[in-house]
Amino acid sequence: MTKKLRIVHCLNQFFGGMGGEEAAGIEPHWFEGAKGPGQLFENLSPDVKVIGTVVVGDNYMAENVGERAAQLVTFIKQQLDLDHMPDLVVAGPAFNAGRYGLWCAALCQVIEEELEIPSLTAVYPENPAVESYRQSVCMVKSTSDVMGMQSAVKGMLNVGRKLATGVELSPPEDGTIPRGIRQNYLAAETGAKRAVGMLLRKLEGCDGETEYPMPTFDRVAPAPAIPDLSKAMVALVTSGGIVPRGNPDRIEAASASTFGEYPLNEFSTLSSDSHQSVHGGYDPTYANEDPNRILPLDVLRELVVEGRVGRLLEIYYATVGNATSVKRAQRFGKDIAAKIVNEGALAVILTST
């Protein structure tokens, strides 16, 4: 009988069946055996056994990710029997979820450092966790949403088995996100020959060939400060999905296709009568009770009266920053920037959840 691959599986509150956003603050819970997607691991591969599942809230972890990840590893250690340690720890798949991906990756990083057990997670390549953790954590590529659950699990099983048995990974075939680890190999021709060959091909019109793709770091130089805001107009933008009650532009709760421009001039404050949150990625209860908790209009109005701020732009811009593709976010940003500059505002306060 082949030895079973024993896995500890870590899930967020949603995939662990403990609730939605309202449960995002829950502390770690341990369950014997597999839960939710963990069952898929066992169904797809009879030699896999999920010995236990950790379920924890996304907010609980993301609000202090380094510390919480370390605590979670301690929690896991406490649940395990030293004589029957797992072969692998699997976190997620987290797809494009920002908080989930972040803590899955953070957890894997701590496990690499503290336990002698391999670990991995699976995320969509645009997940913010990738840039911070790609070098230290093994991440299998997944789709952006749960439709790709089965292929993500298959990928994780394949890679997980290799990690547990010490087989070397190969990012293109294994579907992992490249970690930037340099592996030396002996090429058939010298570098000089290869370079000349590449140049000759380029001269013939074959462009884009490279042995080493240059990383692109998209950073923007900070815009100069406004030394005296008491004379300036400040604009408000939010990705927290605060829109007028009724969502007149029908902005989507995730993967928003548009942003809205809404008037502020009738309002000295925001309230549940006038505004609501349409963001699908966080518990909207508190935002709906008092939208100022996302878009602080009440305080800003007071600051204008006190002279701390010159004035507010009487239009604000809102979208939903939940699973927004980078391309779209860039387009929104460009459009909003142009409008704000046109209106004469000099600075922006952007609030996110």
């Binding site: 956003e21 995002a24 907010n59 993301a62 609000e63 920002g98 908080r99 913010p128 911070s132 998209d218 950073r219 923007v220 130089a221 900070p222 815009a223 100069p224 400060a225 406004i226 030394p227 005296d228 805001l229 400040v234 604009a235 933008v237 966080y282 518990d283 909207p284 209860t285 508190y286 935002a287 009770e289 008092d290 100022n292 908790r293 996302i294 878009l295 602080p296 009440d298 305080v299 600051l303 701390r308 701020v309 860039q330 929104f332 940003g333 460009k334 909003i336 920037a337 142009a338 704000i340 500059v341 505002a345 000099l346 600075a347 922006v348 306060i349 952007l350 609030t351 996110s352 959840t353």
Partner: protein
Amino acid sequence: MKELERAGLPTAHICTIVPISKTVGANRIVPAVAIPHPLGDPNKTLQQEKAIRRQVVEKALHALETDIEDQKVFE
């Protein structure tokens, strides 16, 4: 956010998950209270909440008034 800065508008990003803000390249980052209520706290009185909200907003204003060379978290 980067597009706003590219257009010359200093932007203060009030957000809870600072590592994400840093990764995507925000320059002026202001940590908020919590994900579902970045500028408030339902466990406090209305008065206290407003005071907290004001504190965070003031930090954002300070960030807008401060020249920086690189990404900075304004605690």
